[in-house]
Amino acid sequence: MYRYDEFDHAFVQTRVAQFREQVEARLAGQLTEEEFRPLRLMNGLYLQLHAYMLRIAIPYGTLSARQMRQLAFITDRFDRGSAHFTTRQNLQLNWPKLIETPDILAALAEVEMHGIQTSGNCIRNVTSDQYAGVAADEIEDPRPTGELIRQWSTDHPEFSFLPRKFKIAVTGAAMDRAAVAAHDIGIRVVRNDAGEVGYRIYVGGGLGRTPMLARLVREFLPKDDLIAYLEAIMRVYNLFGRRDNKYKARVKILMHEAGTETVKRMVEEEFARLPRAAINVDPAELARIEAYFAPPAYEALGDEPALLAAARQADAGFDAFARANVVAHKQPGYAIVNISLKPIGGAPGDATSAQMRAVADLSERYGFGEIRVTHAQNLVLPDVRQRDLPALYRELLAAGLGDANAGLITDIIACPGMDYCSLATARSIPIAKAIAQRFANPARQQLIGELGIKISGCINACGHHHLGGIGILGLEKGGEESYQITLGGDPGNDAAIGKLLGPGLAGDDVPDAIERIVDLYLAGREAGETFVAAYRRLGHDHFKGALNADRH
């Protein structure tokens, strides 16, 4: 894993000390709330409906066991014993106190963590494929690129006051698991015809009020040119992006209004003008970063099909777990294990401090002490020996983490919604709970197969509802919560924005409507067809009848 250098350490420590002074100044009345708000937001501290909320960055979704234990400690000491993993691979504390936040930040700094750039109009935490470095379908580990971008964008003077927040995702695999098309800049590691590794660059994706998928602006960018090219994009955006209207300030609107070709040309012109040699990182520095992500000391093992087949035969629970939660590893004899944070009836993405500690312990005993956080609000143990899978499964079960539902209908993504969030127009979590309860039967979940339900509590779309095979958006209508359903969204290689099915429903009616949508899918699907594939073949209108009983 990447370790901070002296500069990083000094920077984070300085920010902690600064924030301590700022809090004291606020409490003493030397700063007004208006003056203080941007300062606390710069450190990830929000004021929500019932309490403060601290957002902690987990760059490219990678955590060490030590960091996870420290997060568990912080959760116990300064919160109510549980915390919430978000769709941006961040962790949110829901009940921190302002007066204790400097201590929390100091405790985070001890393990090289912070809440900087998790808020505000800056380049936010870089997200990535949760299987980075271990996926069987990977061209190259995207995390050194993520780390490079983190270093370049952290406290960058030119990009600290952008027209709007700015999100970058990077993936190195054939299958896009980082939803790059939904980001302001999406980066895919690719190999060109000559066999060289470089980047394919997409610009202008984003969800929210005006959902758009990013467009391709560069088919192949040599690796060494990344920072200069990103800088060119940011300059064009900074100069031409709109600052007059916050709803039009994202780079996606610039792409839309100026046109992809124009933006592409402006970026290329800027790129040609920039003194690349001075801006790009020294290849030696990239090599230094890459060394931190070198593969761990894998044992020379063979795959264990017979052992696993016998274990699956003997235990139906393990069989379901192996099918849904275990993924192919690039290294023979190893597997990637998804740990679901979606127990039936739980709040999606929540983990207790005891569970966080259990995962930290398991990551050391069944791996190399590394944990990943997924944008689907689950955790991953990236390096499990196949022969250890049955034992790991039993331990996960004992910790309340054995749900065999990764990627299935109860693996619901939901933002905090009106249970916590001051921007919300409706609740998300109770809807997620009600749907999960409706589909709790494991056999039924397996029958339905891969299906992503994603729920947002307002138009800001933190729950990525536009990208859900079934998306649910909570709004207010006539003084009550009202839920719009969209179908056909897809975060992956064939990224798509979901299409609205019809008028909003009352919350109580949502599970019935979802059930009717699922029934229409099951009745119409061909063998092996996923929900989204069937939706594309059957068409939107096939599902229209699902809402009729429940007009709201």
Partner: protein, 101 residues
């Protein structure tokens, strides 16, 4: 802003800890049952003025008027968002049954 309808209470948040507070007859309170209800614009302004003193003293933030109705069992905020906020986290946890009903 749409025009405020009365009666109202004043809702704010504690600066140091973040929890929701109300202006009560004995000063700030965390219990919504103790919130002073203002039935007229003048009474509402007076209530808000009391909260502004606490804001100026850096003990609370975000004081605002919240519309309520009076019921036999106590006040009920008109908007569901404020019901969640006033009655408190977890009170609305059972799906889609109205808070505190």
């Amino acid at each position: 802003m749409s025009k405020i309808k009365y009666p109202v209470i004043v809702v704010a948040q504690d600066l140091r800890e973040g929890h929701v507070v109300f202006v009560g007859s004995q000063g700030l309170t965390r219990d919504w049952r103790e919130a002073v209800v203002a039935a007229t614009p003048e009474a509402g302004e007076a209530l808000l003025a009391r909260a502004r003193i606490d804001e100026a003293a850096n003990s609370i933030v975000g004081a605002e008027l919240v519309e309520v109705e009076q019921r036999a069992e106590g006040i009920r905020p008109i908007h569901y968002r404020e019901r969640f906020r006033v009655y408190g986290f977890g009170r609305q946890d059972s799906a889609f049954t109205d808070a505190a009903e």
